[in-house]
């Protein structure tokens, strides 16, 4: 059996590998989307807000309805409406919480409420404006919570005491396609170098 035969077999295997990877990526792409997944974020400010009072930490619950663990690197709150034109939203100061090391994991089909794992909730505070703020007395503010994604960290527990799920490091369909292309290209380049 000559060298040419080996090369042909090698090329054939490389081609099969590329096709297999492409098919895998196609199947994977059908089951998941690379578009961000929407999760529910709810919060309730405990007690009332008063001019000049210290910032109040807000317990915020992140609910992940998907079948994969999701990571969040930042949770913020802002005041959308005060219910009165005379009650200025500027009188309320909010503080987002930034979560280091890739974000906090919310396991699949479950929720987590901040503060948790040493991570506090976002804060809200009513500033002392130095002016009459009576228009805000007894006002019910509408607040909006936003959770922005994190990248996740290998080794971070998906759930307290639990193992890591498949979604911890989930590849997207695009990623697998690129992997297939890379594998095929490297194989072909290697064979061409040997033949040359």
């Amino acid at each position: 059996m000559g060298r040419r035969t080996h090369k042909r077999r090698g090329l054939g295997l490389a081609g099969l590998l590329a096709v297999a990877c492409w098919l895998m990526s196609a199947v994977e792409a059908q089951g998941q989307s690379s578009a961000p997944v929407k999760v529910s974020v709810t919060g309730q400010v405990p007690g009332g807000l008063y001019p000049g009072a210290a910032p109040t930490a807000i317990p915020v619950t992140l609910t992940n309805p998907t079948g994969r663990t999701l990571y969040f690197a930042r949770v913020s709150v802002d005041v959308r409406d005060t219910g009165s034109d005379a009650c200025s939203p500027e009188w309320f100061r909010t503080g987002a919480v930034s979560i280091p090391k890739g974000g906090i994991a919310v396991p699949a089909k479950s929720s987590i409420t901040l503060p948790a794992r040493g991570i506090p909730g976002p804060t809200i505070q009513m500033r002392e404006s130095g002016t009459n703020q009576n228009a805000c007395q007894a006002a019910t503010l509408t607040t909006r919570y936003v959770a922005t994604p994190g990248k996740g960290v290998a080794g971070q527990a998906a759930s307290p005491g639990g193992g890591r799920g498949r979604g911890d490091l989930a590849f997207t369909g695009l990623a697998l396609t690129l992997l297939a292309a890379a594998g095929g290209t490297l194989t072909l380049v290697g064979l061409r170098l040997r033949r040359g």
């Binding site: 807000l49 008063y50 992940n64 019910t140 509408t142 607040t143 922005t148 990623a175 061409r192 040359g196």
Partner: protein, 161 residues
């Protein structure tokens, strides 16, 4: 046979490496999620000022003397509150008699007494903070029998706003 890389082979190898690096970069893709929701927050309301009195000093008589009492205004609320001023007056029942410790003193008329208030300066007080003022009370000579007021300590009302 000794084979060496030609320029075209090196280019091919470099291209292959580039594709591999791009592929690896693309492969490090995590599922991410975005989330949002709305909630509510309640703003509190103001809390009535607390006014407490110190011991009075001095004694008043019909047509002479002054009894002065210091008072303290405290913010018992949970947030800052602005104190504009205070007013002071002698407390009377429906018949015009003064009250002493909440009890009307028959025949001792509130109109015989005057209060000169020295209010604290207008200020914004944080929770539990306080400020002080004083009220000086004098008794007028009515030209009538004022014995009903002997040893009486008329109640003084301080209104803070």
């Amino acid at each position: 046979m000794i084979r060496t890389f030609t320029r075209s082979k090196k280019r091919a190898a470099a291209f292959g490496s580039l594709v591999a690096m791009v592929a690896v970069a693309g492969a490090i893709a995590y599922f991410t999620g975005t989330g949002s929701g709305t909630g509510q927050a309640q703003v509190g309301t103001s809390t009535p000022w607390s006014v407490t009195f110190g011991a009075s000093t001095g004694t008043m008589y019909p047509g002479s003397g002054t009894s002065t009492v210091n008072y303290t205004v405290t913010n018992n609320g949970s947030g800052n509150q602005h104190l504009n001023t205070t007013t002071a007056s002698v407390v009377a029942d429906g018949s015009g008699n003064v009250k002493s410790s909440g009890t009307p003193v028959s025949g001792c008329l509130a109109t015989w007494f005057s209060v000169s208030n020295s209010p604290p300066a207008g200020t914004t007080l944080s929770p539990s903070a306080s400020t002080t003022g004083s009220a000086a009370v004098t008794m007028a000579e009515s030209g009538t029998n004022q014995d009903a007021c002997k040893t009486v300590t008329p109640d003084i009302l301080i209104s803070a706003s």
